[in-house]
Symmetry: C2
Subunit: 143 residues, 2 copies
């Protein structure tokens, strides 16, 4: 098998190209693609999530999410508070600064998607997205 | 746009799932997917490459490659020598240890590819690979 046929190599290379581009576009807002992922979870959940819910939506492990949340809290994009209804639970809540980013960031995400997918037809790009989601959701790791 | 329609999110998530699986499979050989990439370049080039050539094949920047090569040299998978025909050039050469990995690692790469792509038809999986390569090779960054 050639390197250019290896699915891990292809995914890594395509991801590298696109995330570098997205990073460049997000630079003026001082946020990274993973931080956008967390903000998105909060935007669609009325500004409040538990870390486990964010981890699940982003297909990441909870310790990875904790690191991202630490940096976002330092930047005052989110806050973490104790859930008064269940004091063993931490709630992640969006700040005004995090809320204000919704409109400009969504615009950038749309532009990046249009640019990356512009040479594919609607059917092709739907198929690529569906296939990537299927791969992302595969349970491959051996316990 | 939903997060699950964002091409950067989809690529990152699919890449994460597949590379975690490949990492697990490569663990007994103490090499990472990027180190496999470098070994592959050497295997198909009679065991010798210049760093720039490796960077180009892997769609990575030369400083990133330098870091990977440092770790591979410590593990005695490669060596770096001065090109006697052009003393300003460094050659990366494969060691016996690096050569011996070709057969077992190629077997793992084939198994991982078969497992990840098993629910796609030959046509679908060819299309996915071709599309990912097109995305990887896009020149998106603004200078």
């Amino acid at each position: 098998m050639q390197l250019q046929e290896c699915i891990n190599f292809l995914l890594t290379s395509a991801q590298h190209t696109v995330s570098q581009y997205l990073n460049q576009k997000l630079l003026p807002y001082d946020i990274t693609p993973s931080q956008y992922g967390v903000l998105h979870c909060l935007w669609i959940n009325n500004g409040t999530c538990i870390p486990k819910q964010i981890a699940k939506m982003l297909y990441l492990e909870t310790p990875t999410i904790s690191g991202i949340l630490d940096r976002m809290q330092k930047k005052e994009l989110i806050d973490r508070v104790i859930n008064t209804e269940n004091r063993r639970e931490i709630l992640v809540i969006i700040t005004e600064k995090g809320k204000a980013l919704e409109e400009p960031i969504k615009k950038i995400i749309n532009e990046v998607n249009d640019e990356v997918m512009k040479n594919f037809t609607k059917e092709e790009s739907d198929f690529i997205r569906k296939s990537l989601l299927q791969i992302a959701e595969k349970e491959l790791l051996q316990k």
